[in-house]
């Protein structure tokens, strides 16, 4: 009996410890990743990099012989343009689909739609890029008579298709998490279905829905391969949906492989990584504040 109790207490502690380790590992990994990205870039970040030129110049000439310039303004503009375009398409479609699946359709249709949407999420990003390059590019040229189809619009549509599944599944989960008593109470008070959704469900599920949208934004900002192939990879500030652009992530993907380790160019690419870190951090932080603001 006594050994049994000892055994129990040991396994109990062991399991507690393992679970604690699992929980902490996420934090450790995030900090470790941040540490390494920062370490590769910091030498040049604090000595040599002209921060004003870095943030406010469009001139990105990392391999110029006569005058190397590292300005990421065009890349920032590209990332912003593509992400905003993608979200303009993905948020209404994603949330609409989530509402439809959770509130309007029967169980059979729901299962069918959910399976198809999960399938959409399983398509690798290279395949999306390929669709952008081979299908969307000629289509945009034909429909809009644009000189080239590798544009912000192309990248935006591809990214929207990639982030819709995330928005739908998380949005649907959070709508379904709203207790049925809310729905019943609203119906009992004579609310129409629209009123029920607009006045009761959306406010009740707003945290989950916001999380869904932000994960979609995260996906759009962080996506690399598809935008590299679909946006045309062009260093310019896009002036419209039919202009080509280049994103921060695509630049790292395209150039890091061949930049000599430890060179200025290599370090600047890591500084772009830090910049991406800061952007996603700010997006998450803003979301936290928004959620807290709504709660109050």
């Amino acid at each position: 009996m006594k050994t049994r109790r000892l055994f129990d207490s040991v396994t109990e502690r062991l399991i507690e410890w393992v679970i604690w380790l699992c929980g902490v590992s996420a934090i450790v990994f995030v900090f470790a990743i941040f540490f390494f990205v920062f370490r590769e870039g910091w030498g040049y970040l604090f000595s040599g990099l002209n921060l004003r030129e870095f943030l406010f110049s469009v001139e990105w000439y990392p391999t110029s012989v006569s005058h190397k310039r590292y300005g990421v303004l065009a890349l920032l503009a590209g990332t912003t343009a593509v992400t905003v375009t993608a979200m303009t398409i993905a948020v209404p479609f994603g949330l609409g689909a989530a509402i439809f699946i959770s509130e309007f359709c029967g169980p059979k249709v729901r299962e069918a739609i959910k399976i198809v949407i999960e399938l959409l999420a399983a398509i690798p990003s290279v395949v999306w890029g390929f669709i952008g390059l081979m299908v969307m590019h000629p289509l945009i040229v034909r429909v809009f008579h644009a000189p080239i189809g590798l544009t912000v619009l192309n990248g935006g549509i591809i990214l929207a298709l990639m982030s819709v599944p995330i928005i739908v599944s998380i949005g649907e989960d959070s709508l379904r998490a709203v207790p049925d008593s809310y729905r019943e109470a609203a119906s009992a008070l004579g609310a129409t279905r629209w009123q029920l959704i607009y006045r009761v469900l959306l406010p009740a599920a707003r945290n989950g829905l916001l999380a869904a949208v932000l994960l979609g934004v995260g996906r759009a900002v962080g996506e690399t391969m598809a935008v590299l192939m679909a946006t045309g990879h062009t260093l310019q500030i896009p002036k419209g949906l039919l202009d080509s652009a280049r994103t921060l992530t695509a630049t790292i993907a395209a150039e890091l492989g061949e930049a000599p380790v430890g060179s200025e160019h290599y370090q600047v690419l890591f500084i772009i990584g830090i910049l991406l870190f800061i952007i996603t951090f700010l997006v998450n932080l803003a979301a936290d504040f928004v959620v807290k603001g709504i709660r109050r």
């Binding site: 390059l133 644009a146 310019q236 080509s244």
Partner: protein, 308 residues
């Protein structure tokens, strides 16, 4: 319980970080493993590094008793390493300069030996429906260069019916590809930069594919990549001078202006292993690899060994 976890945290974080830090940078050129095998050290031109790598991999199956170690770093780096005696073969996408040869002679007492192992020729591509036939290097510079003024097809004197906007869509390469560097050097000289706003694609084949689906596009890529969807332009060294189409003959007789030989240099006569490797490079298998990696192989005749 929470008190205990706090005790764990610091050492755990430190341990993970320290562990990862200790294994992230391994010293370059691990000598231990290859000490038993004779190695051919091969370094230099970034343009040639893929080709040299492909050769080295193939050669490992031909002669497993020798290992070929390839690194890039640039033509100048390769030559410097050859002068210092740290490499057996230096890859170079330009001719060795007289002072480099002088330096090599004084340091090692041996005159560097030059071996032409292939050619690099870039074709200028347009969509198959584009009526343009010829272009000069000056015109290309005025399209691709920083501050260039030519932005429309009508400025080149053609009416590109497939392209209603008349805009020249410049297709280029990502800024650290050898093709990008060579094209910049051939068109703009060593100092001038490209104009921003070109579509910078990630592969030689991608450039040709995009040009093939875009009537407004103008692009450059290795001449081996042509497809039925594109046309290659004849290039003139000067406006008004005769233009030459990118063919293997025009590359070999140097009349096509955007081409250059690819060299391998050895310090004096190559060592036995290096000699065998170079002879293999002149052979059919290796020259086939030249073609598949996008360069122009040597003319088909018995291996000339070295040039004067």
């Amino acid at each position: 319980m929470s008190g205990r976890s706090v005790n764990f945290k610091p050492w755990l974080c430190c341990a993970v970080v320290a562990l990862a830090a200790s294994c992230s940078r391994t010293p370059e050129g691990s000598a231990g493993s290859s000490a038993t095998k004779p190695t051919i050290q091969n370094a230099g031109s970034d343009t040639m590094v893929n080709l040299a790598q492909a050769w080295a991999e193939e050669y490992a199956t031909v002669d497993p008793s020798v290992s070929v170690e390839v690194s890039g770093g640039g033509s100048g780096t390769g030559i410097a390493a050859l002068i210092n005696g740290t490499v057996d073969i230096a890859n170079c996408s330009r001719k060795m300069e007289p002072e480099e040869i002088e330096k090599a002679k004084t340091t090692s007492g041996r005159e560097p030996e030059e071996h032409v192992v292939g050619y690099d020729a870039l074709a200028v591509y347009v969509h198959k429906d584009n009526p343009l036939d010829t272009i000069s290097l000056e015109q290309l510079a005025d399209i691709y260069g920083e501050g260039a003024a030519t932005t429309s097809w009508s400025q080149l004197g053609v009416k590109n019916a497939g392209c209603p906007s008349d805009e020249i869509i410049r297709v280029s390469r990502q800024s650290n590809s050898g093709t990008y560097h060579y094209f910049r050097e051939a068109i703009l000289g060593s100092k001038r930069d490209f104009k921003l706003g070109s579509r910078d694609l990630h592969g030689s084949k991608d450039v040709v594919e995009l040009v093939g689906t875009t009537p407004c596009a103008l692009g450059y890529s290795g001449m081996g990549y042509a497809t039925p969807a594109v046309r290659t332009l004849s290039v003139a060294p000067k406006t008004g001078a005769p233009a030459f189409p990118p063919t293997i003959e025009n590359t070999l007789n140097k009349s096509y202006p955007i081409s250059r030989p690819l060299y391998m240099y050895t310090a004096g006569a190559p060592s036995a292993h290096a000699k065998k490797y170079l002879d293999w490079i002149y052979g059919d298998t290796a020259q086939k690899i030249v073609e598949t990696t996008g360069y122009v192989p040597l003319p088909k005749k018995p291996a000339p060994g070295t040039s004067p």
